[in-house]
């Protein structure tokens, strides 16, 4: 039966929602038919998550109606939404790590028996696993699962509750290319059984592949809803951002100098005391960008921290400009000219409650002229902070504003400005464009390239394959704390080969296999 003739599973009309002074959703119409994958496309802050949280029962719309299978509904809590057959898999998983898969599966389930019916639940999980191809061992504690497996648990949770509509919020950001294939297979299986799927993403290639329809949101409003198969990248990007988007990156010829960073057989543990970086060696020269591709959780953070002195090194050596820095205090690394841009900008790189001046001082309180003996010179701090704000385009009402009031893009600009204005020799950038809108992303990439031209050595760790392939002079792939291989010319390698390496295949094998197709 032609899907367009069926009653939509869910129909949202005229949805409006405002927070404080921001209008997150303005008059949005959105519907999903049975058996369809309808993508919500938009930049960060466009209103996608808000809309879905309304559908999910977490927020109450200021105005507008929601109809489920033709009937008007009001959701005052997620329970109502789940009861109506709507299940959401959030970007940040809603799982309890210390509990097992089966316990997470039934937590909060309405009508659950008083004494937990472990056997029945485990059986049902195995059934659903087989049916939808979502393999997972029900008695494992969730903290032991990989991110991809945890996502499977989240999807199973919704299927367990007989959800007819599944909302997937940025599901592929944590998956290898192979796992993305697998997920798409699962989605196709679900639609063939009559489920509807809402796919939220900003990754154009995936969106074009999987969607039946695409709705583009910009600044809280619907720009257009169009059929998925016929859209082009340029068209989608332009509608998403509101102007023409340039995809190419302007990189000058490589002019590498001396070796700045040398890591030799590094071994480091993660927070739980398990090996995270295993016998890892790499080197980066002046004026060169070494990209590092890999799925989140394969030791990238631990490696970046070890290279900035923030994590103890169990074995191996780290040398900066020839000087052995192994075991040195983080302050020594900072003073030696290492700028570290952490992935967690709000939690680690900045102090949200403090203002711009104080956040500048965070990495500069030991340096003259900002410090004078035991005292700080706020005058000099203010001067330099003002210069950074101007040069890096930080949009802020003033220097005395708490940094948490700034948007993500402006926070990143500030942090970038702080790390780069000190003319560092080595820049360790982890996920520098994550969660940023297109404008800020372009800016950050530009800055990194400028630093490269200036002669800094850059380690760019990113899960965005496109970004890391475009910016890097050399590209390494990390898997379970080891380097699978370093590609000397990223233009000569396919995403597929990289994907295999990210999943643990050594470079030689991966290149062969990928070419063989």
């Amino acid at each position: 039966m032609d899907p367009s003739l069926q009653t939509p599973i869910v129909e949202m009309r005229g949805i409006c929602k405002a927070f404080a002074n921001v209008r997150a959703n303005v008059g949005i119409d959105f519907d999903v038919r049975p058996g369809e994958v309808h993508t919500l496309l938009g930049e960060n802050g466009a209103g996608k998550s808000t809309l879905m949280n309304i559908l999910n029962g977490l927020y109450i719309p200021d105005s507008g109606t929601i109809r489920v299978k033709g009937e008007n509904r009001r959701f005052s809590s997620p329970r109502d939404a789940i009861a109506a057959g709507i299940g959401m898999v959030h970007q940040h998983f809603m799982l309890v790590p210390v509990l097992t898969v089966w316990e997470n599966m039934i937590m909060g389930l309405p009508g659950l028996e008083a004494i937990l019916p472990k056997k029945t639940v485990v059986e049902r999980i195995r059934d659903l696993s087989t049916r939808y191809g979502l393999g997972v061992e029900p008695e494992t504690p969730v903290w032991q699962l990989s991110v991809g497996e945890q996502q499977r648990v989240e999807i199973l949770k919704m299927l367990y509750r007989r959800a007819e509509l599944l909302v997937l919020d940025e599901p592929t950001s944590v998956l290898t290319p192979q796992e993305v294939r697998h997920l798409f297979d699962t989605i196709r299986q679900m639609t063939s059984e009559g489920h509807g799927v809402v796919f939220i993403s900003h990754k154009l290639d995936e969106v074009m592949e999987i969607s039946d329809r695409i709705t583009i949101l910009r600044k809280g409003e619907v720009v257009e809803t169009l059929p998925g198969r016929k859209a082009t990248r340029e068209e989608l990007a332009e509608k998403m951002v509101g102007r023409k988007v340039v995809f190419a990156v302007d990189k000058t010829v490589l002019n590498a100098g001396e070796t700045v960073l040398e890591a030799d057989g590094l071994c480091a543990l993660n927070d739980r005391g398990l090996p995270a970086v295993r016998n890892l060696s790499l080197s980066i020269r002046e004026g060169e960008i070494l990209g590092m591709a890999g799925i989140a959780g394969n030791g990238q953070r631990e490696l970046c921290e070890a290279l900035s002195g923030l994590r103890p090194i169990q074995f191996g050596r780290v040398r900066l400009m020839g000087v052995d820095m192994t075991g040195a205090h983080p302050m020594k690394f900072i003073q030696a000219g290492v700028g570290y841009i952490p992935a967690d900008r709000k939690g680690t790189g900045l102090v949200g409650a403090m203002n711009l001046r104080e956040n500048f001082t965070l990495k500069n309180f030991w340096k003259k002229p900002y410090s004078r003996g035991i005292f700080l010179s706020w005058e000099n701090v203010a001067g330099e902070t003002g210069r950074i704000v101007e040069r890096f385009g930080v949009s802020t009402p003033g220097l005395g504003v708490p940094v948490r009031n700034l948007s993500g893009g402006n926070q990143q600009r500030l942090m970038l400005g702080r790390e780069l204005s000190g003319t560092p020799r080595l820049i360790v950038a982890m996920q520098p464009t994550w969660g940023l809108d297109v404008g800020a992303t372009e800016f950050v990439r530009e800055q990194l390239l400028l630093q490269r031209e200036r002669g800094a050595a850059v380690l760019l760790v990113s899960e965005d394959l496109e970004e890391v392939m475009a910016l890097s002079d050399r590209l390494a792939v990390i898997h379970k704390g080891e380097i699978m291989g370093v590609v000397d010319d990223p233009r000569g390698v396919t995403e597929e080969a990289l994907g295999l390496m990210m999943a643990g295949t050594p470079m030689s094998v991966a290149m062969r296999e990928a070419c063989g197709r």
Binding site: A20, L310, I334, T348, L362, I374, L376, N405
Partner: protein, 356 residues
């Protein structure tokens, strides 16, 4: 569930709120206290008037208020320092006592008949004693992440029992006729007083230290480090700041300042140690610090206010035969209201109009 208003997060806190909230909190607490008094069959009006008159009604009352404000300021600064780093030093009470004991020990075993010398000796030993007492808990936290709330608290009990041991045992004053207490301090160990009041030179110390702390937080590197660590320990690590070293140092300084409070109490005010020497100043200091939002200059002001409350409590005991514990109830109520009031610093209530 539909309510006629919704709760909204604030982006910033308007300046007038910084005053309105503490004042409102104290007012609400007094109101709640009035209700309680009423149910106990005591006229709230009579009680509050008596308290006001006793504490602020005449010069003697005022001077007594200042006398109480001195240890409160010092301990409040001490507690505020550790709280700035989100290290919960609940042990000010014990650190005060240890400081006093150290001063007594100096007088007993190292007496020199010169006030300046005694002052310096007592000051240093009290600071060291209090500093080590707190530093021990700080070490346990820094090294093994042992919960400092419990350790500092346990050390309060131990300190008080230690005092009892000395008062009833080796340091008992033989001429005190059955009442256990230490021998009175000789003149050279007594801090000079102002006029005919009991206000002693500790006042100068308190104000000086408050000013010092203000400079510390605002303009020094260490003050900045403390504030960053208290705000976001991860960012502090990332910035190269040493958490362990700072926990130890902050706890030591915190204990040292509290120890100094103990020294001024014994050398300036009481001249000897009796049972019940530390009348809960260490705990009241927590309220002082919280009410003053860890601001050193605010601490002076709030100490004065809470000192007035304590003197008022004494008056109540004498005039209306209410136990001293009643003041503790009022203190608890004030803290409740201050905690509740902080909510309005971060959120505001917005009525949902019909037109929306």
């Amino acid at each position: 569930m539909s309510v006629p208003f919704r709760v909204e997060r604030r982006l910033d806190c308007p300046a007038w709120l910084n005053w309105a909230i503490p004042v409102g909190a104290v007012a609400t607490a007094l109101l709640a206290g009035a209700v309680l008094l009423f149910f106990l069959g005591v006229s709230p009006l009579a009680a509050y008037t008596a308290m006001f008159r006793g504490a602020l009604g005449d010069a003697w009352g005022l001077s007594e208020t200042i006398v109480k404000a001195i240890p409160l300021t010092l301990a409040g600064l001490a507690v505020g320092l550790s709280f700035t780093m989100v290290v919960w030093n609940i042990g000010a009470e014990g650190q005060i006592v240890m400081g006093a004991l150290a001063a007594v020990a100096v007088v007993r075993y190292a007496f020199v008949d010169s006030l300046p010398v005694m002052f310096v000796l007592m000051f240093l030993s009290a600071a060291l004693a209090g500093g080590l007492w707190a530093g021990f808990a700080g070490f346990l936290k820094a090294r093994w992440n042992v919960n400092e709330i419990i350790t500092t608290l346990m050390m309060n009990y131990i300190a008080i029992l230690l005092t009892e041991y000395f008062i009833y045992g080796p340091w008992r004053d033989p001429s005190s006729l059955g009442f256990p207490m230490t021998a009175p301090f000789p003149d050279a160990a007594r801090l000079p007083l102002f006029g005919g009041t009991r206000v002693h030179v500790g006042l100068v110390l308190a104000i000086l230290l408050a000013l010092l702390f203000r400079v510390l937080y605002r303009w020094t590197r260490w003050g900045f480090e403390l504030r960053v660590i208290g705000n976001n320990a991860n960012a502090a690590r990332y910035a190269g700041m040493d958490y362990m070293k700072n926990v130890l140092l902050a706890m030591f300084v915190s204990g040292a300042v509290a120890g100094i409070a103990g020294m001024t109490e014994v050398a300036g005010l009481q001249g000897r140690i009796q049972p019940g020497f530390s009348s809960g100043y260490g705990y009241t200091a927590i309220i002082v610090a919280w009410l003053a939002r860890l601001n050193p200059l605010g601490t002076i002001l709030v100490s004065f206010l809470l000192g007035a409350l304590l003197v008022g409590g004494d008056t109540l005991q004498v005039v209306m035969r209410l136990p001293l514990a009643s003041v503790q109830v009022l203190q608890g109520l004030i803290l409740f209201c201050v905690l509740g009031g902080e909510f309005f610093r971060n959120y505001r209530i917005v009525p949902i109009g019909k037109g929306e």
